[in-house]
């Protein structure tokens, strides 16, 4: 599904160069559920951004389903983001002036689906996260957990191959966090690959695999190897 070999990312200013990723390599298979852990500033979010084509990278190879992601133009990278990747953010990132239905509709609009197809997908995905009865509500009328479920519905509506979640429970209390994790677990069991950045060891343990990032590198190269679903969760740190 996703292969990175020797990927590097450097942020440059007039005064300083920051190596966010250095010779970073990882392989993530179809249907995997990977938790990316590591201290603040270690490069976790940069990894997620590059994986989601939200940022370019400076060196190395990144392949998604065997396709080289280097040097894609804006149209192509936008299309891949829209069709193959779903995003879940810590702060939900819903549009406050759109209701739930319209929020989930946003990425589908860019996909060019017909109205009937969009409606079906929106209703199904909101049903899936248990919010089908609140389609006309605004995000501000929902709890944090419900808002994150809307964000998940939005990510799922386009049937992505891969979900990228950046601290998806960071703004939620433990009960809501557990509900969201249960949902992600369920989505993964249905075959969607999930890469989740988290600081929370307990959440990381719920993933099939952990990748610990330190100073822009994978802390333990053995972690590249895909693991079987029924293996015990291993935290590499």
């Amino acid at each position: 599904m996703l292969t990175m070999k020797g990927v590097s990312k450097i942020y440059r200013t007039d005064l300083i160069e920051t190596h966010a990723l250095r010779d970073f390599s990882v392989e993530i298979g179809d249907g995997d559920f990977v938790a990316v852990t590591g201290p603040s500033g270690s490069g976790k979010t940069t990894l997620l951004n590059i994986a989601g084509l939200l940022e370019s990278f400076d060196g190395g190879v990144y392949e998604l389903d065997g396709v080289d992601m280097h040097g894609l133009n804006d149209d192509d990278s936008s299309e891949i983001r829209n069709e193959q990747i779903g995003f879940i953010f810590q702060s939900f990132n819903l549009m406050p002036d759109l209701n739930l239905f319209e929020n989930v509709d946003v990425p589908l609009r860019y996909r060019g689906f017909k109205a009937a197809e969009r409606k079906r997908r929106i209703e199904e995905s909101l049903e899936r996260v248990g919010l089908s009865g609140r389609m006309k509500h605004l995000p501000s009328q929902l709890s944090g957990g419900q808002q994150q479920r809307v964000a998940i519905a939005r990510a799922l509506a386009g049937s992505p191959k891969m979900l990228l979640a950046d601290e998806p429970t960071g703004n939620l209390d433990s009960l809501m966090a557990r509900q969201v994790l249960d949902l992600l677990d369920e989505i993964n069991r249905e075959g969607t690959t999930i890469i989740m950045v988290t600081h929370d060891d307990e959440l990381a343990r719920r993933a099939k695999r952990n990748v610990h990032v330190l100073d822009g590198k994978v802390d333990d190269p053995t972690a590249y190897q895909p693991q079987q679903r029924d293996q015990p969760v291993e935290v590499i740190a």
């Binding site: 979010t45 951004n49 989601g52 939200l54 940022e55 804006d74 149209d75 936008s78 299309e79 983001r81 829209n82 069709e83 995003f87 953010f89 810590q90 702060s91 939900f92 990132n93 549009m95 002036d97 509709d105 946003v106 990425p107 609009r109 860019y110 996909r111 017909k114 109205a115 969009r118 409606k119 939005r154 386009g158 950046d166």
Partner: protein, 442 residues
């Protein structure tokens, strides 16, 4: 809104965005509206002053200028020929069969009396013209028709009324066959013109290019009979008439007549110009036409340029109005920057969800275009106020100070285009926001 149409969706997003920032949006619309309003007020006057009043015939209608001087003083060696003709020159050239149509005409005035009564006598203008006037300048008729060449030759006491004069004297009824008294004579009405207001009134410039046409027209051949001189404008004489009587005035070297001809082909134009030159050379032998040999033939387009209708003041006013519009658009540009900067997080999110830069730019341009459209509508309202003010403050601007369909379209198009130009850079900058930049900070 739940449709398949991308445009409808983008329009809905634009409307939502405008509603979300009502103060900023109102300021932008006001800035665009004020700029367009000021510009359109001046441009309307300019446009109506300079528009070709008879574009279909502008390459066929000609007037001439002969360089008639009896003596040439220092500094007059290469001056421009006179734009008006003498009575004798005009009558001679009228005999030419080269033009397919032609007309000599001038304006005078007298007291009008309705023979049937009902309206108090009043002073008003009328025009003496050969009958070619009506076909040459495409004069429309409501009732009756122009007098014939035979009536012209026979000095018939006939008259064509304008639409306004017919309204004034006969309440708009068909007055053909009625008689009215103008000056000391009675005239039979043979035709009533429909509304006829060419702007500028290119076929004469004495009374004002933007004044309405006179109330009535009578045969030019009556000039020596009714002995009414030209009422206003140029009637300069380069030699003192030999006597005090009217015939002496007609025979004198006085320039006061307008003479227009239709020359539909290049051959006819050449032949007519040659005829003018030959006439000029012949007259030179009799001591006339001593000035430079530079007789001119102007088609309508060249004539309008020669008249220099748009003077320096108008050009300067247009410059000032355009500068004002630019200042307003710079303000709009700054407001758009402020507005778009505030939506960085939304842009970042849309990019992450798969919106390409092109699509995003299109969405922003639709929003800017919408601001331009509303600003243009406001600008039109302000232009109407401005034009009403000009009508109050200045005379002779009644027919110039109004918006027509062309100008409304120009105003709206100019508003949308100029707002798009002002907003293109802020929109483009906004679309360059990296998708990941603001996702963490929301």
């Amino acid at each position: 809104m739940f449709t398949d149409s991308k445009i409808a969706y983008d329009l809905q997003l634009a409307l939502n965005s405008i509603k979300k920032t009502p103060v900023l949006s109102a300021l932008m619309v006001a800035a665009v509206g004020i700029g367009i309003g000021a510009c359109m007020t001046i441009i309307t006057i300019f446009y109506l002053m300079t528009v070709n009043p008879n574009p279909d015939n502008s390459e066929q209608l000609f007037t001439y200028a002969l360089h008639n001087r009896l003596t040439v003083r220092e500094g007059q060696e290469d001056d421009e020929p006179r734009l008006l003709s003498t009575y004798r020159d005009a009558l001679y050239i009228l005999e030419s069969d080269i033009p397919t149509e032609q007309s000599i005409h001038y304006q005078s005035w007298a007291v009008y009396r309705n023979a049937a009564g009902g309206v108090n006598p009043f002073w008003d203008l009328f025009r003496l013209a050969t009958p070619g006037f009506f076909s040459l300048f495409d004069v429309p008729f409501l009732y009756g028709e122009a007098w014939s060449q035979e009536q012209e030759d026979n000095k018939a006491m006939v008259m064509v009324l304008t639409w306004d004069m017919n309204n004034k004297l006969f309440g708009g009824e068909n007055s053909v066959g009625e008689r009215i008294e103008v000056g000391d004579d009675f005239y039979e009405i043979v035709g009533v013109m429909d509304k006829f207001k060419p702007l500028p009134k290119y076929f004469e410039f004495d009374y004002g290019l933007f004044q309405e046409i006179e109330g009535a027209l009578v045969p030019f051949s009556l000039t020596p009979t009714i002995e009414l001189m030209k009422n206003s404008g140029s009637r300069s004489c380069i030699a003192t008439p030999e006597g005090d009587d009217f015939q002496s005035y007609l025979d004198a070297e006085c320039h006061w007549l307008h003479h227009w001809v239709r020359l539909p082909t290049a051959e006819k134009r050449e032949a007519f110009h040659e005829m003018l030159n030959n006439y000029s050379l012949e007259q030179r032998r009799f001591g006339r036409f001593q000035g430079p040999f530079n007789n001119r033939l102007y088609n309508l387009t060249e004539w309008l340029e020669r008249l220099e209708i748009v003077d320096g003041t108008m050009t300067m006013l247009i410059g000032v109005a355009l500068m004002f519009l630019i200042v307003c658009l710079l303000n709009t540009n700054a407001l758009l920057f402020a507005k778009f900067t505030g939506r960085s997080a939304e842009v970042s999110l849309k990019r992450a969800l798969g919106c390409s830069k092109k699509r995003l730019l299109k969405q922003h341009l639709i929003e800017i275009g919408l601001v331009g459209l509303v600003g243009g509508a406001l600008g039109l309202l302000l232009a109407l106020v401005g034009l009403a003010g000009i009508k109050i403050l200045l005379t002779n601007f009644d027919d110039l100070a109004h918006l027509n369909t062309d100008l409304v379209i120009i105003a709206i198009a100019a508003s949308i285009v100029s707002t798009l130009v002002a907003g293109l850079y802020p929109a483009w900058r906004t679309c360059q926001i990296a998708p990941a930049k603001y996702l963490k900070s929301q």
